[in-house]
Amino acid sequence: MSELDRIRWRSRRGLLELDLVLEKFLDRYLQQLDQEQLDSYKDLLFLPDNDLLDFVDGRRDCPEPRMQQLIVLMRDCWQAAQNDCSQ
């Protein structure tokens, strides 16, 4: 529990947009990530907020493939959540 809590806490960012996207992502995927993905996610949290936002927004792709895989999940999950809301 505490490990996942720590990950949740570190997903609190300086930018509201990231708070919102990461919260959705964690609600949907946190329990399902394998250890390797969890490690990649933890590394991804070390990125500066503005870089992370660029990746999540799709303005750029993350050069690190294992992180890019998670970013694609984030983009899809956010899109899906938005489609749910608007229906």
Partner: protein, 588 residues
């Protein structure tokens, strides 16, 4: 109960721009300095500031700090303290050049000097013509500042306690500040940090509103700690709003959208701005549009399941215009509202952006409270800077790009004051009171042992609803009085919050319960302060009193939490070296 005590010369609570600037000053002076931060410092909300930092460098056009001062006083609607405003605008030039020397990557003109861009409200010759005054690092000015200051602090050997949350201020029997209690999230341990001087740089509290651009961490922790320690909160009725934030998200849609022909609709599909402003319609001034939107919602013509927003319609502009001129707006709408504005309108609502009020301080960064007849007596050993502080340079309304400036100017000033205080007045630690941590331990114990209590997120939602509906942009006597009653009820519920997870290690539920105790203090202060101010000034636009009333209301509000009463103190009308800028009608 025995609690670990750790000693430092200076304890800084908050790792954003103001905290880091102060810490740098102290560490470079050789003082043992620690910065406590809930999140890694470079993830502080300072990172969200995009617009720039203003200083009358005159690199692009002739400019003078006196003109910058005038703009700031006028922006504040004459509630700003003119000594502090002079101090800030005069020191702005050195502050920006210092950041440049620290390695901050400013945009430049061909000659190599810092480029300056135009920004609303920045003028030359005391309001005559626009002037380019904003210095920026692309659209990442806050980010660049934060990273620059963090690197300098690492070099200066500032200590960082990351993922620590300060819980309470420790004051001794004379009222002097001698440290803080804090929770180390990793272990769940509560410790005492014994300090010669303490600085709060805890940022804003915008999360009290349902619609806010603030990050989740902006929970007013410093204000909550002050309220509980008997330090009043100043000018809490003044909050800056933006008319068009995405409903339910808070992300902003720029006003340029209405300039391009976007229109606002209510639940009946009516273009309601035609009714309020037959000529300007949707292009009426920002605060007026905000109030009309709020009124539509209050009168039951809001859209959506909760009838809590209005719609911003763009589709009539056609796909080409939207794709060409508003690509980033389309991106935001798709992402945060789930609608493509080419086909559907965007749900929007006036959204809280910035807190003008806060912990009462002077331009030296010293926290000052009323005592007997003297409204401004220094609290020994206690300092505040940045958005959590009310210095008051922003008065009733902040001028764009003055927030980053506030952080570095008053962060440095407070740091210098702390160095002086430590060297001249408190060279050794003043003893801690007995059982200094008991109050915090009892608060945490209450949360851990509460039964039949309230869910934290339910109480937070209730609070945000009240603050949004009653102390948002549409303010009337009736609405504010209702809000005071309602927020007191929510405050009772907040005393009984309960958590399921009782573990010690990294317990996020406990942290959120503690944040809630801070938020509710700010919410109560906001409603009570706003209800009492019977005029309109800056961001406090009161429908029953549409005019500014300098005779009765050119004064700062002070809210005392324990008694829930208000007192007032005069605005500083004596600048440090120049002539007083007398009040004028604020027209644009």
């Amino acid at each position: 109960m025995a609690v670990t005590v750790r000693q430092f010369d200076a304890v800084i609570v908050g790792g954003g721009g103001a905290g880091l600037r102060a810490a740098l000053q102290l560490s470079e002076a050789g003082l043992k300095t620690v910065v406590l931060s809930k999140v890694f410092p470079t993830r502080s909300h300072t990172v969200a500031a995009q617009g720039g930092i203003s200083a009358a460098l005159g690199n692009v056009q002739e400019d003078k700090w006196e003109w910058h001062m005038y703009d700031t006083v006028k922006g504040s609607d004459w509630l700003g303290d003119q000594d502090a405003i002079e101090f800030m605008t005069r020191n702005a030039i050195d502050a920006v050049i210092e950041l440049e020397h620290f390695g901050m990557p400013f945009d430049r003109v061909d000659s190599g000097r810092i480029y300056q861009r135009p920004f609303g409200g920045h003028t030359a010759n005391f309001g005559k013509t626009p002037v380019q005054r904003a210095c920026a690092a692309a659209d990442r000015t806050g980010h660049a500042m934060l990273h620059t200051l963090y690197q300098r602090n690492v070099r200066a050997k500032t200590q960082f306690f990351v993922e620590w949350m300060a819980l309470d201020l420790i004051r001794d029997s004379e009222g002097d500040v001698v440290g803080v209690t804090a929770l180390e999230m990793e272990t769940g341990e509560i410790m005492v940090l014994h300090a010669k001087a303490v600085l709060f740089a805890t940022g804003g509290s915008g999360r009290i509103f349902a619609a806010s651009t603030n990050a989740f961490i902006n929970t007013g922790d410093g204000l909550g700690m002050c309220a509980r320690a008997g330090i009043p909160l100043e000018d809490m009725e003044f909050w800056q709003f933006h008319p068009t934030g995405v409903a339910g998200a808070g992300v902003l849609i720029t006003e340029g959208v209405r300039g391009e022909g976007g229109i606002l609709l209510n639940a009946n599909g009516e273009r309601f701005m035609e009714r309020y402003a037959p000529n300007l319609k949707d292009l009426a001034p920002r605060d007026f549009v905000s109030r009309c939107m709020a009124l539509e919602v209050l009168e039951g013509r809001g859209c959506g399941k909760e009838k809590d927003h209005v719609l911003l319609k763009l589709d009539h502009l056609g796909p080409d215009i939207i794709k060409q001129r508003l690509p980033s707006i389309r991106e935001i709408a798709i992402k945060f509202a789930g609608v493509d504005p080419i086909k559907e309108p965007i749900p929007v609502i006036p959204t809280c952006h910035y807190q003008m009020g806060g912990i009462p301080t002077n331009y030296l960064g010293e926290v000052i409270t009323p005592q007997g007849d003297n409204p401004e007596v220094r609290v020994n050993g206690f300092y505040a800077a940045g958005e959590c502080a009310c210095t008051s340079v922003h008065g009733a309304n902040r001028l764009g790009t003055n927030s980053l400036l506030d952080l570095v100017v008053f962060g440095k000033s407070a740091g210098n004051s702390m160095i002086d205080f430590i060297r001249k007045e408190r060279p050794t630690h003043k003893p801690l009171p007995e059982n200094a941590a008991d109050f915090s331990l009892a608060r945490v114990n209450r949360i851990d042992t509460q039964t039949n209590g309230e869910d934290v997120s339910a109480v937070r939602t209730a609070m945000q609803k009240v603050v949004q509906a009653r102390a948002g942009v549409f303010r009337t006597d009736k609405n504010l009085a209702l809000g005071v009653t309602e927020i007191k009820e929510v405050a009772e519920r907040a005393k009984r919050t309960q958590i399921k997870d009782k573990s010690k290690v990294f317990n996020m539920a406990r942290v959120e319960a503690l944040e809630m105790e801070n938020l509710i203090e700010v919410a109560v202060a906001t409603l009570i302060s706003a209800e009492a101010r019977k005029e309109s000034r800056g961001a406090h636009a009161h429908d029953d009193y549409p005019n500014r009333d300098d005779e009765n209301w050119m004064k700062h509000t002070l809210f005392d939490s324990a008694s829930r009463t208000l007192s007032y103190k005069p605005v500083h009308t004596k600048p440090l070296s120049v002539e007083y800028i007398p009040p004028k009608e604020r027209t644009f």
